[in-house]
């Protein structure tokens, strides 16, 4: 992994859901400015790793170390939008983040303009298309000015055009210096967006390399099979 000033680190982190081990002794350091793609098959522990890094999930063993307490946000695969207008969703997110009332209107307007939804602001958030809902979730996250952004399969179930829009936004955010950790099933997306790729299998971290090396060097067998599109759970 490429080194940069660390923001958050997991050391030998394990997470268990009853008798299922979702993360098994994972050590990972997230450095400032990195764009890390977490890849692996379903149930490999990508979402649990994101949640643990973000602080939503406690480690049953090992530890999570916060090197720099920077603002964070997370966008989920299926973002939860309140049955209110897109505008109200933005204002509530800003209120929850503790943004002073006088700043909320400007920040909400800037964020919606940024993702191309300013004209749609009075529409019910849940009446927006899937791509628009994901862009609204990104706007909601971006509006609180996070330095560390977690994305859980942000383009899953989106059509190619919406997928491209979301990818473009992530790249724009990253270009501004935002650190991004995202899970994805899409190897092409990992190649396009990430500076580093982490491969997980059965809750264990199998490989973590800069993107170029990940896709060119010889990898552990499990990761190599995954790249070739072979099943990894047999």
């Amino acid at each position: 992994m490429s080194e940069a000033g660390p923001l958050i680190e997991l050391r030998e982190a394990s997470v268990r859901y009853r008798d299922v081990t979702a993360l098994d002794g994972v050590s990972l350091r997230v450095g400032r400015g990195q764009r890390i793609a977490l890849i692996g098959s379903n149930g490999s522990g990508k979402t649990t790793l994101l949640r643990t890094l973000h602080g939503l999930q406690r480690c049953d063993a090992g530890e999570r170390i916060v090197h720099a307490d920077v603002p964070q946000a997370m966008v989920f695969q299926r973002p939860f939008l309140l049955r209110l207008s897109a505008w109200s969703n933005m204002l509530i997110a800003l209120w929850l983040a503790g943004v002073p009332a006088r700043e909320r209107i400007d920040r909400a307007r800037d964020a919606l303009r940024r993702v191309g939804l300013l004209e749609q602001r009075t529409r019910p958030a849940r009446a927006l298309s899937g791509g628009q809902q994901q862009r609204l979730a990104l706007a909601r996250a971006w509006s609180v000015l996070p330095q560390l952004l977690f994305l859980d399969e942000p383009t899953a179930s989106l059509d190619p055009a919406a997928k491209q829009e979301v990818e473009d936004l992530v790249m724009e955010f990253a270009a501004e210096g935002m650190t991004v950790v995202m899970s994805t099933h899409n190897l092409g997306q990992a190649k396009r967006l990430a500076t580093d790729v982490v491969y997980l299998e059965g809750g264990r971290l199998i490989a973590a390399l800069p993107t170029e090396r990940f896709f060119t060097e010889r990898l552990p067998d499990a990761a190599a099979r995954f790249l070739k599109g072979e099943t990894t759970w047999q």
Partner: protein, 233 residues
């Protein structure tokens, strides 16, 4: 059949001429049951939201008890409130027995488990899908509960209308703690029971029709709310 027809004609006359006694009884019924629902909502929403998001020893037993109270018979509520408010009871000095406030207390107790149990379930189910996302955005436990109540406000309104329907159509509790005093605590259901026992069917039937209309209006409201809920996604 003739008796029924004559009663129906008299009932129609009472309704269309806005009979004063009829209006007074209907007004008191709406006021008592409406107030009871407001109080049940005030106590029930806050309590059930806390129960849905909190973690404490014995929580499952409290939830089980609350769900059991859904089947609370209205006469039992009436009896308990009667014992509390009677002259020898712990709250006897308040002098509330056989007054509308006593009826409001009884109906509040009757509606409270319904509001609390169903709201707790509503909040718990909603937070299962959204709790982490709201937590990620910085919402504390009670804020998360409040936000999902805003999110599911149409379901909540349906729930409150159902509680109102239960309150306005019950007879046991208000009969016991209200005493069915003419012009003071007489509501639709107690009047229907009394007039039927006296053989004065027209007033009983007129009130029965009004009660059905009120319940029908509640059902129409519920249907409208559900429609609005679907339109708002």
């Amino acid at each position: 059949m003739n008796d029924f027809g004559a009663s129906l004609a008299t009932a129609s006359h009472l309704i269309f001429n806005a009979d004063a006694a009829l209006l007074r009884i209907v007004g008191l019924s709406l006021a008592v049951s409406g107030s009871a629902c407001v109080f049940a909502a005030l106590f029930g929403l806050a309590g059930s939201a806390a129960l849905a998001v909190g973690r404490f020893p014995g929580q499952r037993i409290v939830v089980l008890l609350l769900n059991t109270l859904l089947a609370l018979p209205s006469v039992v509520v009436g009896l308990v409130v009667y014992l509390l408010l009677s002259r020898a009871g712990p709250l006897g000095e308040l002098g509330l027995l056989f007054t509308p406030p006593a009826m409001v207390i009884a109906q509040t107790i009757l509606a409270l488990p319904l509001v609390a149990a169903l709201t707790r379930q509503l909040v718990a189910d909603a937070l299962r899908g959204s709790g982490d996302q709201l937590r990620s955005m910085g919402a504390g436990p009670m804020t998360r509960a409040a936000l999902v109540l805003v999110h599911d406000r149409w379901s909540l309104l349906t729930l409150l209308l159902t509680a109102f329907g239960r309150a306005i159509s019950e007879v046991g509790a208000v009969m016991i703690v209200g005493g069915n005093i003419d012009g003071v605590t007489r509501v639709m259901t107690t009047t229907i029971a009394l007039e039927t026992s006296k053989g004065d069917l027209p007033l009983a039937l007129a009130l029965g029709i009004v009660l059905l209309l009120v319940v029908g209006a509640i059902n129409v409201l519920i249907a409208l709310v559900q429609r609005l809920s679907k339109e708002g996604r």
